[in-house]
Amino acid sequence: MLREPGLLAAIAVLWGALLLFVLYPALRVALYPKVHDYGAILSDPRYGRALVHSLTMLGLSTASATGLGLLFALATTRRDLPLRRLFSAVSLLPLFSPPFVVAFGYIMLFGRNGLVTHGIFGVRTNILGWNGLWLAQTVSFFPVAAVAIRDVLETIPPSFERAARNLGASRLRVFTTVTLPLASGGIVSAALLVAILVLADFGNPILIAGDYSVLATEAWLRVQGWADVRGAAALSFVLMLPSLLLFIAQRAWAKGKAYVTIGGKASSMETEPAARPAKVFLVAACSAVSLLVILIYASLAAGSLVEGWGFDWRPTLRWFTGLGTQWIDLLHSLLFSLFAAFGSALLAMASAYLVRERSMPFARAADAIAMLPAALPGIFIGIGYSIAFNRPPLDLYGTALVIALALGAWNLSTAYQTGLESLKQVSPTIGEAASNLGATTMRIFRDIHLPLMKGPFASAFFVGFIRSITTLSVIVFLQTASNTVATFSIMNLVNDGFYGKASALSVALLALAFAAVGSGRLALGRDTRSLA
């Protein structure tokens, strides 16, 4: 290794980046507040309440989103179920949208001027509170559970269910004694993933929680209302602890509980047909949820095209033409996200390669730091960046760069995991074969690993871009008048009641996100994914 100066330099740069951009801001959040800041937080009943609220929503929304995710996963893995393609498409939609879009759509449907509440039933209700938040979080996060559980269900060979049926078990019994136990590891793992997202959720509560404050929004209000950064940091730190615990639990669980299905070749056998009542139930439940999701997105689109939502239904384009500075915000979103996605994908692939293939010094520590952002709530990273880089030599406060860097750090873990997973699929003998034919390590990197990491790099780039362009929590603490991004601006428009403009900007943002999804699919579709 010492004979390769390039490698040495790469490792030094990587370690520098991990320490400076991930570990340092995180430590700053923990160490910035004084002891009495923590004391003040803990003794103030306001924050005790917020903590209870956060944990209540954690329980409620995690349970409902995971349950709904399981239903969708079951519905979309059964080939004989009608509408399964629709369900699968609908369950992807919220994955690519800003988290608060659901809350916003919910206001459009059920709010004071809501299409359903006011428009159809003629009532004006106050929908702000825990119940609206519960629904919004459920709809926002069930897709995460659905995807995770579907992945597990697909690894269960249909022959297992066939075998159980053949031994005389009823369909219900097959489900409760074979399918569910085999999927249980995946379901718990999905629930833990959802729990981390619910805990960190900022967009939904800021829009519709009203007085039902949670830790994430309290941290933000602490800065907004009292300019108390220390207090906000202390709150963020308190919020981070359960998140970190959930994350560690999830990792440990995923490692220990993964069922390795014993058996030979993966069969292409058709799944067992579901029992009729089960089918009816699945289709009915998924249809209802799909209808709600579609209504939410449709109301956003419609809201951008009418004069006044709820009272003046004349069509207009003026919300789009009236977007002025907001176009600049959208451009900011685009640029920052591109930078963040590219940077995090690059750093992540380098880390994955050096950690896995080149046994770099302290590889385990590097691995832990690269995985850390996955455990950190968005506002934690945001506040970390706002206090870590606000003085010389790295005074970046208020710059575009600090936003882009924070977004990049926030995306590092998912990108890193993508890189690691794809390297794991490359058999170590492939590198050995090249070495055996006379290739140097540099040559193996250039000829084998670099080309094989193009696919994961692209995939990490697109995922990072979509995450960055749709996040609100990471950027709220870093916004200044000169570098506002679209999600922040939508939040302000909604809070000020400018629903027309807010929906127009949301539609534009969604268009950008979906364009990224589309081009990502195009780019990756051609890439052969069979790396083993």
């Binding site: 050995e432 034919l437 290739a439 052969t528 790396l531």
Partner: protein, 358 residues
């Protein structure tokens, strides 16, 4: 003259001694097989010859020069083929030559030659994922052969193929090896492959080579119970040698006298020994034969060319193969077990009287 020479090779992984003072040699053009159960060190030895890992002590030389130094001259075909998934067949095969900076037209010519030599001429533009297992196998072989290695290393190359294909590729492998005359080291746990392909077989157990010999030696004259048992089916039993004559011998076992062929070492007379008899060296006869061991047919299996019988003699169960066209005994038929021809092979002389089950 020894072309490939392994001298006192020793390698440990933690507390596990993967190679324990292994010494072996093979002449140029020899097909040497390392045979043993998993974990016996055969793959470790192969990887050491390839230069993929170093030894703790000892040395591996090819034509007198230490292996692994200055570019490997022993090229390996991996068990999982290790084809580069993002390169088409042509680029996979040419990789070794490109690394050697051969000129372009030469590379192109050699690639085409190799492709057609291995019968995969039409597949040059395919990606590995678009090939069947057998085709991937050929590409892996082509990638190794094209660089004209001094030693070709094959790591269980047939284990990922289905049974029918395996037999076809096995004979083709033998043909190619003889045709090119390339010195080959082959690793397998399948004794049938080892016997069929090799000029020389080295049986390994727990990091040591326990016997080196021709397939015939290994099979009929195993050096120990482990080899006898691991290579093929063996009837292993202890007996007292009563007579060791030139023409015939007599053994005493299970309280009976057993007449066998000549050829037992005279020094054995009066001693106990552990014997190995292959199922096809034994034959079934009349239950009344005074020179054989009586028993009854306990189990039988028809295997096409022969029938395998398990004969219960009370103290010991013999496995006996009879040509299918010659006999068809029913279960429970009383028979006797005798020797078809020569004396059984003496595995060791430290045995005590009485039988032992496999």
């Amino acid at each position: 003259m020894t072309y490939l020479e392994i001298a006192h090779a020793t390698k440990s992984f933690g507390s596990l001694r993967a190679l324990d003072d292994v010494s072996l040699g093979a002449a140029k053009g020899c097909f040497l097989t390392l045979l043993g159960p998993s974990g016996c060190g055969k793959t470790t030895l192969l990887r050491s010859i390839a230069g993929l890992q170093g030894l703790d002590s000892g040395e591996i030389r090819i034509e007198g020069r230490t292996a692994g130094e200055g570019g490997s001259r022993a090229v390996m075909v991996f068990q999982d083929y290790a084809l580069f998934p993002h390169m088409d067949v042509r680029r996979n095969i040419s990789y070794g030559l490109v690394l050697r900076k051969e000129n372009k037209s030469l590379i192109e010519r050699k690639v085409e030659e190799t492709l057609s030599y291995l019968g995969i001429a039409g597949l040059g533009d395919r990606l590995p994922s678009q090939l069947s297992g057998g085709q991937q196998q050929r590409v892996a072989l082509a990638r190794a052969l094209i660089v004209e290695p001094e030693v070709l290393l094959l790591d269980e190359p047939l284990s990922n193929l289905d049974a029918k294909l395996r037999l076809g590729i096995r004979s083709e492998l033998k043909r190619i090896q003889q045709d090119l005359g390339v010195t080959t080291v082959y690793v397998t746990h399948d004794q049938a492959e080892a016997l069929a392909l090799s000029d020389l077989v080295a049986v390994m157990e727990r990091g040591k080579v326990v016997q080196v010999g021709t397939p015939r030696d290994i099979y009929f004259r195993p050096a120990g119970a482990f080899v006898a048992d691991f290579v093929g089916t063996a009837n292993l039993f202890d007996a007292l040698v009563l007579e060791a004559g030139e023409r015939e011998g007599r053994l005493s076992a299970w309280g009976r006298i057993w007449r066998v062929g000549g050829g037992l070492p005279e020094s054995l007379a009066g001693h106990n020994a552990l014997f190995c008899a292959r199922p096809e060296s034994l034959g079934l006869g009349d239950p009344g034969d005074p020179d054989s061991i009586p028993g009854v047919i306990e189990q039988k299996m028809f295997e096409g060319s022969h029938v395998r019988y398990w004969v219960d003699t009370g103290a010991f169960t013999f496995v006996v193969d009879e040509a299918a066209s010659l006999s068809d005994y029913e279960l429970k038929t009383p028979v006797s077990v005798g020797f078809r021809s020569a004396a059984p092979h003496v595995v060791s002389t430290r045995g005590s009287a009485g039988g032992r089950d496999e």
